[in-house]
Structures are given as structure tokens and as C-alpha cells.
């Protein structure tokens, strides 16, 4: 059994009390977290610390199963505190602040042997630093998760398929087209074609900033897939710069019908479905 686990076990309540008293107000944040809850978290932390450091051989390795309880606890603490409005520094400082009471207790019980004391303090210091950094890592991971979710949401929001008329669909594309997005665009468009039984689909690329060879290839794939299902595709919204890039790059859009504006594409789509727009005066 390691000396640290031994000492923590013996002096648990003493460590807990001095830890809570000495903690700086900026770390404690009484305005955000209640006394009982805080005390509970601290007590759990000490128990987990004792459990994890019990075997001095494995104490330094946080990925060991002995540290499972500590990892769970730190994960919970750092996630709940970030939600409460703590900064990641404050959460890490909370862990670091346990050093002083533990060192005090170690000094009291091992004071007669300076060499062992120095060793133990060094080891405890390393361990607690690692625990503190672990909370930051958790914080970062939860942030990344939020970013990933937002990206996914944006991806879903950014590919709406709208019905312009009976049998005519429009797909206004906004933002850069990469492989993942094209896949989603293709799937939603084809699904919508089946659902609505539309025979013409207009892909509007006014909002696509650049069209390189890859984007062109993605567009052609989408058009070909739609054609295989029996729907015609028209690409509209080709801006002057894009027309120039397409020709300079030598990208052939094949025999896909292209139009400068959505309005022109809509007129073509109407005529392909056997409809026409007539002004009222002419109709009379």
C-alpha cells in the first residue's frame, strides 16, 4: 500500500476540512455551487484518490482500472461545473488546491524522514497535476462534441429541397460542397424525387462560393443519379466567375442543362412538364 493512500485514509476528515477552508474564493465560487454539494464532491474526490493511489506501482497511470472511479468523478465534476459557469482554469485549480492540505498531512506523518517525505511529495504532486490536466481534457472533449453536433445540424439545415410546382423541385445549395455534403444532398434530393414524383429538379448553385473539378464531379454524379431514376436536372445560378473557372479548368459539365438564373431554369422546367406562364392580358 502506498504511503499516500495510507495517509489519506487516516486523515481524511482533516484533509477535507483544511482543503475546504483554504480554498481561494475564486476557485470555491460560493455563488455557483452550494455548501453540501461541494463538500460531497470533495469527499468523493478524496475517496477516489485513496482508491486509485492504493497500489504504488500503478498509481501513476490514470488509464488503469483502479482510477475508473476518479475518472468518472472528474468527468462529472468538470462537465457539471462548466455548465454552471466555471471556467476550465477554475476547475483545474480546484484539483490543484488539494495539494497543500495533502502535503501538510504528509509532512506531519513522515516529517522524521526527509528523504521519504520528499519522494512522496514529488509523487503526489505529479499525480495531482495529471488529475488537474485531465479535467481540462474532459472540458475540451465536451466542447468538441458540441462543435460536432452543431456541424451536423448545419449540414442538415443547409440542404433543403423545396417544391416549386407540381413535378418541379428546387435544391438551393449554399456553402462549399465537399464529399460528405454531396452525399447528403444527393440522398435527400433523390428521396424527395421519389416522394413527390417530380420529373424535373433544379440545382441552384448561386450560394456555392467556388466550383472546382471535385465539386463539378459531385454535381455531375448527382445529376446522373437523378437521371437514372427518371428525373431531369437543371443546374442554375452559374455566376460569371464560376463560368470562367469552369472553362479555365476544362471541367465539362457534360450534357447537363445549365442556366444563369433560377428564373430561367424554372421556365425550362415548366415547359418540360408541359406548362407555360401566360400574362393575364394574353389569356383573355
Amino acid at each position: 500500500m502506498s504511503k499516500m493512500a495510507d495517509v489519506i485514509g487516516k486523515h481524511q476528515s482533516q484533509i477535507l476540512n483544511s482543503w475546504m477552508q483554504e480554498m481561494p474564493a475564486s476557485t470555491r465560487r460560493t455563488d455557483l455551487i452550494g455548501e453540501t454539494e461541494f463538500r460531497n464532491q470533495c469527499a468523493h474526490f478524496l475517496v477516489a484518490l485513496q482508491d486509485g493511489s492504493r497500489d504504488s506501482e500503478t498509481a501513476g497511470d490514470l488509464s488503469r482500472p483502479e482510477w475508473q472511479q476518479m475518472r468518472d468523478l472528474l468527468g462529472e465534476i468538470s462537465q457539471s461545473r462548466v455548465q454552471l459557469g466555471f471556467s476550465p482554469t477554475q476547475v483545474a485549480t480546484f484539483v490543484f488546491s488539494v495539494k497543500s492540505p495533502i502535503f501538510n498531512v504528509l509532512r506531519e506523518s513522515l516529517g522524521n524522514d526527509p528523504k521519504v517525505l520528499a519522494d512522496e511529495i514529488y509523487r503526489a504532486s505529479l499525480l495531482i497535476d495529471e488529475l488537474g490536466l485531465y479535467t481540462t481534457e474532459i472540458f475540451q472533449r465536451s466542447r468538441e462534441e458540441v462543435i460536432r453536433l452543431q456541424q451536423q445540424e448545419m449540414l442538415e439545415l443547409s440542404t433543403p429541397v423545396v417544391k416549386l410546382w407540381e413535378g418541379i423541385l428546387a435544391l438551393p445549395l449554399i456553402g462549399t460542397l465537399d464529399s460528405a455534403r454531396t452525399q447528403i444532398v444527393m440522398e435527400t434530393l433523390l428521396q424527395k424525387i421519389v416522394e413527390t414524383g417530380s420529373s424535373v429538379a433544379i440545382i441552384d448553385i448561386t450560394g456555392v462560393p467556388t466550383v472546382d473539378t471535385l465539386v463539378a464531379q459531385h454535381l455531375i454524379k448527382t445529376v446522373t443519379a437523378a437521371r437514372l431514376m427518371g428525373a431531369d436536372c437543371i443546374i442554375s445560378g452559374i455566376r460569371p466567375q464560376i463560368a470562367q473557372t469552369i472553362v479555365h479548368l476544362g471541367v465539362g459539365l457534360g450534357d447537363v442543362t445549365t442556366k444563369a438564373g433560377l428564373a430561367d431554369a424554372f421556365l425550362i422546367a415548366l415547359s418540360r412538364t408541359g406548362l407555360a406562364i401566360v400574362s393575364k392580358a394574353e389569356a383573355v
Binding site: K221, A225, L228, M229
Partner: protein
């Protein structure tokens, strides 16, 4: 051995693929269909693949081949009802079936066949016999 039924509807043939195509079945269909076109001198063939869930490159090529053969025998071919997943697979496999006409469903496919066959009929009539 199981076979895919070929139904005659007026001057068109209707092939509805309701089972999963395997290679031998596709070959049998190619044989049967070409025979039926010559027997009935059909003007058009409609292949409904709305129940087909899985295609590989062989089946994709067979469908395209069958359509090409029918065209050589002067029957327009329309493939209808391809599922989105099948369409994506074929495109990813690089089979874009350039010569095959397609339609969303049997109804639209029939319309397409009728209009093209009407056009062809005009084209086949000798010029002096055409109505002005």
C-alpha cells in the same frame, strides 16, 4: 428455373422485376426478352425495377445491355422506378447508362413510350402518305 415474366400490353412489352436479380436470371431475361421482341414485333419495352434493392456492376451492365439490344431491334426501352440507393450505387460504380431512357414510374414510362412511338410512326410513314 424461375423466370421473369414478360407481359404484352398492346404494342409494348412490360417486364417487372419483382425478385432479386442474380446473374443467371439476368441472362435468361436477356434471352427471353429478345425472343419476345422478335415474336411480337414490339415497338417498346418497359422495365420496372422498383422492387430491385441490390445491384452490382454485372446487373447494372445487364440492364444497360438489354436496353441496347432492344434498341437494335427497334424497340424503345424505358427503365422505370429506380430506387435512390440503386441510382447512387450505379453512379458510384461508374455506370451512368448513357443510352437508357428512364422515368419515375410505370405511368410516366408508358407516356414516354407512347409519345416516342407516335413520333417514330410519323417518321416511318413514307413522306407522300403523311397527312399535312
Amino acid at each position: 428455373m424461375e423466370r421473369i415474366p414478360i407481359l404484352k400490353m398492346g404494342e409494348f412489352l412490360l417486364v417487372s422485376i419483382q425478385v432479386d436479380m442474380h446473374d443467371r436470371l439476368a441472362l435468361a431475361l436477356q434471352e427471353d426478352l429478345t425472343n419476345r421482341i422478335s415474336e411480337t414485333s414490339a415497338r417498346g419495352v418497359l422495365i420496372d425495377i422498383s422492387s430491385l434493392e441490390i445491384v452490382d456492376s454485372f446487373i447494372g451492365r445487364m440492364i444497360s445491355n438489354i436496353a441496347a439490344m432492344a434498341r437494335v431491334m427497334d424497340a424503345e426501352t424505358v427503365v422505370v422506378g429506380m430506387r435512390p440507393a440503386v441510382a447512387i450505387t450505379l453512379v458510384e460504380l461508374g455506370l451512368s447508362m448513357p443510352g437508357v431512357r428512364t422515368a419515375l414510374n410505370v405511368e410516366k414510362g408508358m407516356d414516354l413510350l407512347r409519345t416516342t412511338s407516335a413520333k417514330n410512326r410519323v417518321a416511318r410513314t413514307p413522306i407522300h402518305a403523311r397527312k399535312s
